[in-house]
């Protein structure tokens, strides 16, 4: 019974944002944009968290910077472009699709296609090789065909 309760409570668990009430913008729309941008930016100190979730000081500074720039009128792309210009593509939690990242994005699918093709081709070859040996009737028919062929 207790286990069921624990499971129920776990399903209600939400991610904890690191952002404090003092950082949040009054303008709801701007805050929503800031939050969305923040979720896409990696905290370069904690590396696997976004800046919205990270408690690191630098994450807080960048959250504040994002909100300031949005308030100053930057578009979402301008804000992200600025952060990327300082920290590189690594700061984006979703790597952009560029020649440098093609292997990352298309590699697994490509490997599956190659592996699948190889398996398929080899299985067809095997089917031809693993024919059951000729029955005695088939052997007689084959022998007579050969004889007839030699005569003509």
């Amino acid at each position: 019974m207790r286990i069921l309760l624990v499971i129920l409570l776990l399903t209600l668990a939400r991610p904890v944002w690191a952002i404090g009430p003092d950082e949040m913008l009054q303008d709801r729309a701007l805050e929503a944009r800031a939050h969305a941008i923040g979720l896409s930016l990696r905290c370069v100190v904690c590396r696997s968290e976004s800046i919205e979730e990270s408690d690191a000081d630098l994450a807080r500074d960048i959250r504040i910077l994002v909100r300031e720039r949005l308030t100053a009128g930057d578009t979402d792309q301008q804000v992200v472009a600025y952060i990327v210009s300082r920290y590189g593509d690594f700061v984006l939690l979703k790597p952009p699709i560029k020649p440098e990242t093609w292997a990352l994005w298309f590699g697994p699918a490509l490997l599956i296609v190659i592996a699948g093709t190889v398996i398929f081709v080899r299985s067809r070859r095997k089917r031809i090789v693993n024919q059951p040996p000729l029955t005695s009737e088939e052997e007689e028919a084959l022998a007579s065909l050969i004889e007839n062929g030699e005569r003509s």
């Binding site: 370069v44 100190v45 000081d57 630098l58 300082r86 920290y87 590189g88 690594f90």
Partner: protein, 185 residues
Amino acid sequence: MRLRFAIPLALFIAVAAGLFAGLWLNPQELPSPLIDKPMPSLHLDPVAGLDNVPGFATDDLGGSVVIVNVFASWCIPCRAEHPELTKLIHDPAYKGRVHLYGINYKDKPEDARDYLTELGNPYERIGADSNGRAGIELGIYGVPETFLIDVKGRIRLRFPAPISDADADKTIRPALNKLLAESGK
């Protein structure tokens, strides 16, 4: 018959070699997108109460090879690298040719003053970055970080760690020598 095994084997060796080489890479280190680009425009006031040490602005660069070191009094590795920085800048080979500027990152002026009084001040200029914005402009992700600037004011090296003796010999000095040779100074 042999060819069927040769291709997957070759692929495996290629991938294994790549991954093996990767063992020597440092996954913690972030490549800076600012390399070879001009230093971002910064204008930092001097640290309050620190007489005779002017602030630091990007305009002060250009014309000579500069080491820009981001440090803070609350940063323990900064204390560790301080003697190394002092040794580097007092090297007779670099006298008058290499300058050391500091950026005091998210620090209180009184703490910075105490830090420099205690350990000595090797910096010709120190810019106070109390809100950390200059640090973000430079793309730092920790303290200390050191940047080497060439005579044209471009960032040529970003060293995101405290400079040890070995680091100075293996990385910093060769880089400084290269920049000096380039500039003919």
